[in-house]
Symmetry: C2
Subunit: 544 residues, 2 copies
């Protein structure tokens, strides 16, 4: 039997647009004689629709679009993810479309409610397996997390008889290294159930989430027969052939070789996330501040790759604290990328603010307030140009500084989308080298990579005046933020006690800044987004 | 048997501080011969601790503090809410402290995962009732939502034998009118189980949530015997006396009469929320922009009531578009409240920005960008003074403008806490009148109340240039935002179709602004906070 996995890029809420994409892939599948065509989880609504699911009319519209799809996709048995309401309960469902109508429906049984997931907020769990019998095959339909608990899965299908193919429709968000986990799950399911697996994953960026595609087939021995492309749409086709107590898979689409460069998938995620956030929100053009530092240089490179250099404008906004070297490097980066470059000096504006603020008792043009003021003037300039030119402002804050609050609220955090928000500073360096390497030339100048990081908000300022070296900082942050380790555990692992405690205090105290920061692309197991929900009002201090 | 309800104000994460408050009430209860003392849900950790619950060491610290409490509160049987982990599962528990140790533990069975609640993200549900037998009484211990489904509750206790008292420990967040719902639930539980009820609710502000206290006793006939004070701490005591097939309650604390003024509780919630957000986050002083309009005038009045006039500074930041009347009214409000008043003109700064921005092709000092620029200069001035003086900036945006995005991101939304974020404009007017009435004088001048609302960002601007009249706008918003009504339903209810569709589009398109806005006090069933989770990237349009 010929199976197609319709790995496509859905937009949340764009029911008709998603249906049109599904229908287009259906037509391609028809040309290639596909007999069973499988689309991702919640393909009709996009994933995650969040509180749209509270609107009764949204659910009615989803059903209407699904019924129309059924009547438009008559010739191939098609499995499509769609939220469905039934008797006041809402389900995360896989609908089977056959001969012009919805022939059966499966409701997801395992509803994730951790990390970035809130499925128990919306859905009731299903409890009945669905075995689709078509073209002589028994096909078990599952939705995403249903296959992640192998013991449960095996129980679930205990009374279902022989299964030839497990079809799984997923919307599995990316983090670096996740594909390995997915492959293990697909392999384990194939072996446990003793059947082939067709795993269809969503692709595309949705706010902070990236769906990376990489749909898969496995045979009943648990061999991965092939992997679809990552980060782009792909109609992935194979023949699934049962016989002799095993189920074989003959791949009909090119399988993507596994890269041995771990930075590649991170870079691709950042490019796709930036492109989709801008495009899906109606922006053709973006602009960002270019300081001559590594964060904004990397962000500009990603933006140019995502949207085309002609759609990116870099703006340098020098004060008297910016060195000629950094100003020059900003210009170099813009030239290397071929993006537009503007200069808007902030010194005269800074002077005027200072003059007015001096009327207030206690104002001081030497301290933190004055430093933040410079960043806020820059944020205001970027937002003014954004409003005037209709371009989205990208911010360049990395995960290390976002964690410890080494940022100015409404200053460098001002903008619609934070490209490298989940990228630690040490990884920013690696990505800069990666960009230079893959381009075969020095896009981001050597001087930018080698210069000691500085915010240039006072004479001779260095990040290390305030923060530990980034190598150490990032070690503490991955332990504390990404792995829930305590100060005690980090100190026992050999990190310096004073620094560990100081960094943890900074992370805790800066929740208020993160709460008002723009969304950014999740690339780790725990980003500062939906998977990080800490109170602002929080006096907790580790008592050890 | 003498029962005390320890309605106290916990701080999330302040385990030792919360324990100290519990112990202090224990000592007061001891003096008044209380035999059973009941504290709210998650009293040890504060509610909601959110992702602190992911940290193993946090749970260990909670248990340690609970055990210390047990040894400090030997003389009264004490029920305390605390998160407890057991074999890798985490429970929302009620611990019974007796004779120096934890004698038994009940795990909350009904875990809310809707609205502002995410309890299924953290907790496993309990499944066993706990009947505490002490002083000849059978006391069923329950946690918050356990009593909201009466049929389930009755099933749950079906095999528990005779129950004299249902003790419920709650952290039930406020919205206007909720107390009536709570009373109905307490009455229904008393009648269904045929026992007295002691309902102990948390009090205090925690980020956007207000816990309003108003703990209660009911007798077995379902009569409310008394209600504790709202919005303040209260040790609420009664004797519970079984006999003759019924259980009587003799109140020993003054019961609070029910107010017939619905604005009173809203005002109290806003005052408590502002006070607790500032104080619990370490701020003594606040500052806010005073425009001479009604929103900032009301916010200033609430701030002064919350923190003392001496801790509030109002700042007027006139441009050439501000009329002498509004500038004068801002001053009048400050004088009436007795708060500090500063003037920082923005005109020279605005000119300087305009001069620099004119270098960019396309810049225009007549449009929206130029209007937003003025708001952003003001936001920057407030934040500069906040950084310099260590005062929290309060914002004054109301729910109507927050909904439709009639705000400038990083402009009037710049600040730490949004006092009236969940107050519709029409309610802002009522609250202004209420403030004047309860103060017995015109705190907010008549002219401020009567002037047509204007942002004063261009000559002769009125809110109605852009928005419908607030009476109509607020009707559409309560239907769409608070009740999930569709455009179709709103139009069928008699609202004008064009305006309905225009307003809904504005709400949908401005999610990105809300995402970066400060938290504010929830006073309705659906605020723009934890109970409003919409994607930014969202192309959904009602298909009707």
């Amino acid at each position: 039997m010929r199976i197609g996995l319709g790995q496509f890029n859905a937009v949340v809420g764009d029911l008709r647009g998603n249906a049109a994409k599904i229908h287009k892939m259906y037509q391609q599948a028809l040309e290639r004689s596909v007999e069973l065509l499988v689309f991702p989880e919640l393909a009709v609504s996009g994933y995650p629709p969040e509180d749209l699911l509270h609107k009764k009319y949204f659910l009615e519209d989803c059903r209407r679009v699904l019924e129309k799809l059924a009547s438009d996709c008559k010739k191939i048995t098609t499995v499509v993810g769609c939220p469905l309401s039934d008797n006041g309960n809402i389900f995360n469902s896989a609908a089977v479309l056959q001969n012009g109508s919805i022939s059966s429906v499966y409701h997801k049984a395992q509803l994730p409610n951790y990390g970035v997931f809130d499925e128990q907020r919306y859905f009731q769990p299903g409890s009945c397996p669905l075995i689709l019998k078509t073209s002589g095959l028994n096909i078990a339909v599952t939705v995403c997390r249903d296959i992640w608990d192998i013991e449960w899965l095996s129980e679930f299908f205990a009374d279902s008889g022989k299964i030839d193919l497990l079809a799984n429709i997923s919307a599995s968000p990316f983090y670096a290294g996740k594909q390995g986990d997915r492959e293990q799950i697909v392999i384990a399911s194939a072996r446990k159930i003793g059947c082939a697996v067709g795993y269809c994953n969503l692709v595309g960026g949705q706010d902070e989430l990236i769906f990376d595609g990489r749909s898969m087939f496995a045979d009943s021995e648990g061999r991965i027969a092939g992997i679809a492309q990552g980060f782009v749409e792909d109609l992935f086709i194979a023949d699934v052939v049962p016989g002799d107590g095993s189920v074989k898979v003959r791949l009909l689409s090119p399988s993507v070789p596994i890269s041995d460069e771990p930075l590649e998938e991170i870079y691709q995620a950042l490019v796709l996330g930036t492109r989709d956030y801008a495009r899906k929100n109606g922006f053709q053009k973006v602009l960002l501040g270019l300081s001559g530092g590594i964060d904004s240089s990397l962000s500009a490179a990603i933006a140019a790759a995502a949207l085309g250099a002609e759609n990116v404008t870099g703006i340098t906004m020098p004060s008297r604290f910016n060195s000629p070297e950094t100003i020059n490097d900003a210009k170099k980066v813009a030239d290397n990328l071929g993006i537009k470059f503007l200069t808007v000096p902030i010194e005269p504006i800074l002077k005027e603010f200072d003059k007015e603020l001096r009327a207030v008792k206690g104002w001081d043009n030497q301290g933190i307030a004055y430093e933040n003021l410079q960043a806020r003037i820059r944020g205001t300039i970027l937002m003014s140009l954004s409003n005037q030119l209709g371009a989205l402002v990208l911010t360049s804050g990395n995960k290390s500084e976002t964690a410890v609050g080494y940022t100015t609220l409404y200053g460098d955090t001002a903008g619609g989308f934070a490209v490298i928000k989940d990228v630690m500073k040490t990884v920013v360096y690696s990505l800069a080298e990666y960009v230079n390497m893959t381009n075969g030339r020095q896009i981001i100048p050597e001087a930018v990579i080698n210069r000691a990081p500085t915010a240039e908000l006072r004479p001779g300022q260095k990040d290390t005046d305030t923060l530990p070296e980034y190598d150490l900082l990032d070690k503490i942050l991955s332990g504390y933020v990404e792995e829930d380790k305590s100060a005690q555990e980090l100190i026992e692992s050999g990190l310096p006690a004073d620094t560990v405690r100081r960094v943890i205090t900074m992370v805790d105290q800066n929740e208020y800044k993160r709460r008002q920061s723009p969304p950014g692309i999740k690339i780790t197991q725990r980003a500062f987004g939906k998977d990080w929900r800490l109170p602002i009002t929080n006096r907790y201090k580790d008592m050890s």
